[in-house]
Symmetry: C2
Subunit: 349 residues, 2 copies
């Protein structure tokens, strides 16, 4: 005997419920969607039938009919990155309140996977999407809106307003906050450790950092050195320590500003392995304020992004775009905040 019992009872549809309650399918549909239009007595009868037959609505039917499904996609760059998972929580909570289902899709930082996911959303006739694009090329998304699925870009402030909505954090301000903090501590030689400059966010952080030095009357070209890495993960950060220290103790920077906490944590580990102490021998600043920034020792000074709020705002924006008849694209900008912990200290030559 097989252990599957699925075919025992065929899944029931709206018509069977209707027959069972002695009404027409249309009435059942009304009970489900606009209960106020149906008389108390019949409503109760239908609800009883629904319960008795254990009817569960078939969303394929609905969305076939309406042309749209009631779910929104959330395209994240990387499911394993804590930054994105916090954002996901925000999106989910807000969506739940609007009665929308969230399907989380992972682009794994790969353009080709993003494209596949966008296509999937189009095939499912998703109502909308919250997207963190893998790079500056938004043509996939433009195509998506032509297919009738609206979207909101997340963490990408440079989206033109005639293309789509966006919610992001002021990266220039973030870089500047970090820079001012380091300048205030007396640092004069800083390395900016970053991912590819093709990513707009890190470019802006870099500019902000330089602006802080300029503001203090220092020459940013002399003060800020850049080390560019292909990926923003801890292993890369650890390996990059060699490059940071290259040139011997003479030219060693006094502080490292990392484009991301993962990178910063890797750097801290790499420094420790080489016998350098943080912050005595070198200060380290991260970006994002992931949970673990507070767990390492010393705690990581970092630029905090309002991750959860970011997610909520994006979803709220999307929701209003879905409901407004005439929508004008909007741009929402959050301001990040520096969180000072133990990984930065006054520079003592």
């Amino acid at each position: 005997m097989s252990s599957r019992s699925r075919s025992a009872r065929r899944v029931v549809g709206i018509t069977e419920v209707a027959r069972h309650a002695g009404v027409s399918p249309g009435t059942v549909s009304n009970v489900l969607n606009r209960p106020e239009r149906v008389a108390e007595a019949t409503r109760l009868r239908v609800e009883a039938a629904i319960a008795e037959l254990d009817y569960v609505r078939n969303s394929s039917g609905s969305s076939l009919r309406s042309g749209r499904s009631a779910s929104v996609g959330l395209l994240v760059l990387d499911v394993t990155n804590p930054f994105f998972t916090e954002v996901a929580r925000g999106v989910e909570d807000e969506a739940a309140e609007s009665g929308l289902a969230v399907v989380l899709l992972n682009s794994a930082e790969a353009r080709e996977r993003q494209q596949r996911n966008v296509r999937l959303l189009a095939e499912q006739r998703a109502a909308g999407a919250v997207v963190m694009p893998v790079d500056d090329d938004l043509s996939d998304l433009v195509w998506l809106s032509r297919q009738g699925t609206s979207w909101v870009a997340l963490d990408r402030g440079d989206v033109a307003e005639d293309v789509g909505c966006s919610v992001s954090v002021d990266n220039h301000a973030g870089g500047m906050a970090a820079g001012r903090h380091l300048v205030g501590l007396g640092h004069e030689q800083v390395t900016f450790l970053t991912g590819p400059f093709a990513i707009e966010q890190v470019r802006r952080r870099h500019e902000g950092l330089r602006a802080a030095f300029e503001e203090a009357g220092m020459d940013p070209d002399a003060a800020v050195r850049v080390v560019e890495l292909p990926l923003l993960n801890p292993a890369q950060g650890e390996r990059a320590v060699d490059k940071i220290l290259a040139g011997g103790p003479r030219q060693r920077p006094q502080a490292v500003f990392c484009a991301n906490d993962q990178l910063a944590l890797g750097v801290m580990k790499g420094l420790g392995r080489r016998g350098l102490r943080v912050p005595d021998d070198m200060s380290v600043v991260g970006y994002d304020n992931v949970d673990l920034a507070d767990l390492v020792h010393p705690g990581l000074t970092t630029v905090a992004q309002p991750k959860y709020a970011l997610g909520r705002a994006a979803m709220r924006l999307l929701d209003s775009e879905l409901n407004e008849a005439e929508h004008v694209h909007e741009r929402v900008l959050f301001t990040p905040e520096l969180v000072v912990r133990g990984s930065t200290a006054v520079y003592r030559p």
Copy 2:
């Protein structure tokens, strides 16, 4: 002028493609689903029409017709937990190879949300699901299979084989590995810091830990003390340090075994804040081997779970269940591995 251009061109269907290519809709369907049945020439003609009209299939139509959708759900306990996100990667990669779309749903450790998500899967007529259940009560899942959606339980080895498939890691062996390690280092007083014992996994780890002491000829009741917490997160771990140290230096345990890395990292922080050094004053062992276990200082000794492999195996199992005509539920068990880092050391009274 509105900035939305969506209604510019109605989304095209299979019939319009057919007309454009001068064939019947059925032929277009064949081109999409069984291209070998259609003659080369017509196939090319249809493909040209598809490209020209930028046709994208409507999955609502397909799944309405077939009764099942081509996507599988992945129900995780907590999107923010690195353990689950690694598993998610495994599931996604395997699913991509089988041509299945993965929708990731978050139960947020809440029974009520799990229920909502299960219902959502039923409404979408999902082909299957990989589920990490919130607790021992699997009635939601039994209901789900009655609705025709098969599932594989993840990380829950006690699922009866007549109920469903499961893929899990041997928690008893994991607890035992940690225990043997601590015994070997000479520890005689260990605290097991854990989440609710209602969770089967942590019960088994506890048993394994005790078994290791028993094996060494020691009395587990005397050697192992249990501190139970409501949740398994870093903040809880940090706060629990008070309980661990309660009773003064005399009765202080020599080591702490945590049911989870997050907890262990919190404990390490809490200990550091109280001026206790790891591993000199106390050894700490975690469970999971998340990325960050290797980034803190000292590195966290922990029981590694094959997270990615776990996800892949679960998805593979689900896929075979979906394709086999006669399926017999299966149970797959992985063995965890102890990773020794700097957080544990020989006990020196």
